[in-house]
Symmetry: C2
Subunit: 373 residues, 2 copies
Amino acid sequence: MTATPRLLLDRPRLERNAARLRARCAELGIAFRPHLKTAKCAEVARIGHEGRTGPVTVSTLREAEFLAEDGFTDFLLATAVTPDRLPRVAALQERGARITVVADDPAMIRLLGEAASRPLDLLLEVDCGEHRSGTDPDGAALLAAAEAASRHPFLRLQGVLTHAGHSYGTGDPARLAEIAEAERVAAVHAAGRLRVRGHDCAVISIGSTPTLLYARHLEGVTEVRAGVSLFWDLAQLSRGMCGWDDLALSVEASVIGHQRTFPGAAGALVLDAGALAMSKDTGANAFMPEARFGILADAATGERLPLSVAVLHQEHGTVPVPDALWFGRLPLGSRVRVLPNHACLTAAGGHGGYDVHLGDGIPAARWMRCDGW
Amino acid sequence: MTATPRLLLDRPRLERNAARLRARCAELGIAFRPHLKTAKCAEVARIGHEGRTGPVTVSTLREAEFLAEDGFTDFLLATAVTPDRLPRVAALQERGARITVVADDPAMIRLLGEAASRPLDLLLEVDCGEHRSGTDPDGAALLAAAEAASRHPFLRLQGVLTHAGHSYGTGDPARLAEIAEAERVAAVHAAGRLRVRGHDCAVISIGSTPTLLYARHLEGVTEVRAGVSLFWDLAQLSRGMCGWDDLALSVEASVIGHQRTFPGAAGALVLDAGALAMSKDTGANAFMPEARFGILADAATGERLPLSVAVLHQEHGTVPVPDALWFGRLPLGSRVRVLPNHACLTAAGGHGGYDVHLGDGIPAARWMRCDGW
């Protein structure tokens, strides 16, 4: 029996989630470029594309290098690139990959142009309201960025990109539809401004899971990036984006202690899934405070239990129980699943890979991840 | 130039921190068993022992296996062991290692006794006030645990262990001295109860960084475990446990964006150190709210800057600036260090190892870590 803690990935749910995303993209008439920042896994990337390779989004060059080993060739690196990363971009290109990078600042584009040693496809990032990165789609910096790109022969402007990350702040369908429309308009408007000035703008890339789900239409958009919706998690569930039966990722943990005294409870279970196995993300709590650091589920069936992780130490998760009967139901050495707040961070917690099962919690395969940068 | 984000480890500070811990243990007349849950690194373990191997504490079997490769032979696995881990314990023993395990519950001890295939050194964990794990040092379960151990020929009771993790809740020296005394008394008292009943109890192991520093004496204690005090971090600094010049760990990040509009600030720097590079721990904020997700320091000198990370996304850290002059001082592509809240969690964030420098931020060596379980 493999030791816990370990990441469990429910393959049938993953496949169903992927099929729904593809169907949604088809309905909207846009290409799907799954974001592999969550899974960092070649098998998951293929399931995103119905068993084949296809265009993917990555958050690190490490992901692109890892997926390239598996035959993927079309990468969008969605975090702003810096000149010191260009040798690795060039190495990927030399192996036959197409890699599109993102920038927003004219000064950075000049640095990239000076550092580039071969042609580089580029998207300009615009800000549709999150204010994390990207320039004003209606501002002068966007045009200056395009001008800067046009002055460097190796920089090939391909279009624009935006990300409505602030869509995670609400679960209201009407508000999400508004944010989705603002995301669409920001990207399409920015592209229009560039096109009338003679710049190429074939790619209009948007992406956030909630806006993909709630957009009324995505006219003018060419592709969508979405990642966590392959796995789902409590943060998304708490906002109404998915159901309990869609949650594909969990952490299997062992009960390593029965704490008979715990303030405000009949005692506590101690799990061997702590802060490293789960992450300290509490993203679900804004809408579902009972989620705390993760909700427990039955190890075999995945059925939700009325218990959650209240305290996390590095290697301990403490689960208060309302009744001492739980010590009999979950004896020492028994196992549970813990449903994470934020799949992206939990999956990255040093697990190294996924124990893939068919819903029963019994691993049938091991799929590797690529963590780090 | 190596890509960011990356972990920087200041070797002179690490060596000074280790020397102070050894001096403190010598002053108290107890053995030092550094806890490698923070560093997970053989070179750091050796610096803990003045360049040699020596007894260490580990939080995972992976750490013990990794350090055994480097010649370490005396391990205390300080998280409660489960029977399914015993084959790995036995494999370590077969390679010549001594590994002591920890349990608190008589039922778990029975399971371990039934599963053990060779002699196993055991400490009984008692609770000195944190209520995370361990039994009441004055309770019946402690005696029942010792009795259970004595019934299994492979289980060799060696002593007791406790951890005053609740010492992180205060920075008040008088209160810390009280917690340290309670930790000492819990362990010594538990050992006394076992000894009068004829159980061996040569080892009395305590450990938390604040109680080691503030204990008035540790009479009766034989060894202390402490880990984060090799690196220090903002959580410890915020409680007065260390000074700014003691912080040995930082995350080097690149400025990948200049966000000109940011609510409540003159704009924001965008760093490529996000939630994966830093962790979402905010442990310093209870005593130092300005720490947020990490305080910035100069990349070359390590000198603190009046800036901190206010928002973390997976691969983005957003640093509001009070004045747009900061965009000139920290241009695109420039580097900073970020001082973490909690060294244990930041170091585990997928970095894979340390870029070791001599205070100047220029890596002179690469030391590997062992993450996972």
